[in-house]
């Protein structure tokens, strides 16, 4: 995730200190992603180098230095918010590769492999849902982050369910079952 742009977003509300940015970053992401104070200052230095933020001179030695966003920083922030992340090429997903590999390993039931992963994902979803049950009603940002994680995990479960059904049908229909080698070829082509 872009800590750089998240800091710009926080500074768009007004000038802030480094420690304040660290605390606000954590609360604005539902305290799901902890952020090291060192990373905050490194990021601020890079933003300042790129002309996207400016630091205010500390009034006295030992007091904290404040930062504010520049016009170039506001333009960069607006551009980032409205630019969709690159999702054109499928990620090389480890789980997908495990299921595809299981198809080729003699003596391995791909349905059992799918179930191992399905069980793990449901366990994780239970843990996220339990957090939501306890706290989410009182904390909007946390609820949004938990929802995002639940939908991400759910999409993987749906893929596993679909793969399970597709493989079952393929096993019962010889014409479809012959897709094994083709799946292999496609993988090679994509690499």
């Amino acid at each position: 995730m872009s800590v750089r742009h998240a800091i710009l977003a926080l500074l768009s509300e007004g000038p802030k200190y480094g420690l304040q940015l660290q605390k606000e970053f954590e609360s604005s992401t539902g305290e799901v992603w902890p952020l090291n104070i060192g990373q905050v200052y490194t990021t601020l230095q890079r933003l300042e180098r790129d002309g996207l933020v400016e630091s205010d001179e500390a009034e006295n030695e030992g007091t904290q230095k404040g930062f504010h966003i520049t016009d170039a920083g506001s333009t960069e922030l607006s551009s980032w918010l409205n630019t969709p992340p690159d999702m054109t090429s499928p990620p090389r997903d480890e789980l997908v590769i495990k299921v595809l590999s299981a198809l080729r390993v003699p003596g391995v039931s791909v349905h059992d492999v799918i179930q191992v992963h399905r069980r793990y994902l449901i366990e994780l979803m239970q843990q996220w849902t339990r957090l939501k049950e306890d706290e989410a009603d009182f904390d909007l940002t946390f609820a949004l982050v938990v929802d995002a994680e639940l939908f991400r995990l759910d999409s993987v479960v749906r893929w596993l369910d679909t793969a399970d059904g597709r493989l079952k049908r393929a096993a019962s229909e010889p014409s479809v079952a012959s897709t094994g080698p083709r799946l292999g070829r496609r993988l090679v082509v994509r690499r």
Binding site: M125, Q126, Q127, L131, E133
Partner: protein, 238 residues
């Protein structure tokens, strides 16, 4: 205390070589206050399991006990009484009667059980109020949104002294926000002591359960019953 017990339940349709086995040797026990989800693809036997648990269908073999009473020994009348008094059903398509208001729909199971119309109406209103639907009591189903209809259906399923709630894809026709509201209502019923079983293919719904059982081709192939006090999530909130 276990309110719902299924022991070695099997179900086949047809006989001889053309027989189709829908369920094989299923064991399930649901305690007071617990929510169990049954997951599996279409045709895995989820809905059959629910209808057998709810005494709407007979198993080919095995035994069902509800609130300590075995169904095998019960007469048809006793089973019907059990269905009216002890078990609440929630279906995907709500099954509300269109000519009755929300309050009348909720009160109907009690009236059918011989409770006076006045008392049944009061209990119906109380169930609606408990679920935040008091202002919808006088509306007919076609005057309610999909989410409200399902919430009324849940109020109907827990009205009176119901101890077991059986839900078949209760949020199947709803968006995720209403689906979540429905699951929170089922969870609230569990907190009041109801034992609930939700059949679903939706991982979001299943993730609300204390225990998840996975069915495949009529068999329970796996289950999840995590210790939720021991979170593995990489977040300070966990």
């Amino acid at each position: 205390m276990s309110l719902l017990e299924l022991h070695q339940i099997s179900k086949s349709y047809g006989e001889g070589p053309t027989a189709v086995r829908a369920l094989a040797e299923i064991d399930l026990s649901v305690d007071e206050g617990h929510l169990v989800a049954i997951m599996g693809p279409s045709g895995s036997g989820k809905s059959t399991l629910l209808t057998i648990a709810g005494s709407l269908e007979e198993p080919t073999s095995g035994e069902v006990a509800i609130d300590g009473a075995s169904l095998r020994a019960m007469s048809r009348n006793d089973k019907a009484r059990l269905r009216r008094r002890t078990i609440g059903y929630v279906f995907q398509d709500f099954n509300l009667l269109p000519g009755l208001t929300a309050a009348e729909n909720v009160a109907l199971p009690l009236e059918l059980d011989g409770v006076s119309a006045r008392k049944a109406h009061q209990a119906g209103l109380a169930a609606l109020e408990q679920l935040g639907l008091a202002d919808r009591a006088g509306r007919y189903p076609d005057q309610l949104s999909g989410g409200e209809r399902q919430r009324v259906a849940i109020a109907r399923s827990v009205v009176g002294e119901r101890k077991v709630l059986l839900a078949d894809e209760p949020s199947g026709a709803l968006d995720s926000t209403n689906g979540e509201a429905v699951m929170r209502m089922i969870l609230d019923a569990c907190k009041r002591g109801v034992a609930a079983v939700v059949v679903t293919h939706d991982a979001h719904l299943a993730s609300w359960a204390d225990r998840v059982i996975f069915l495949r081709d009529g068999r329970a192939v796996d289950h999840v019953a995590p210790d939720l006090s021991d979170s593995s999530l990489a977040t300070p909130r966990a």
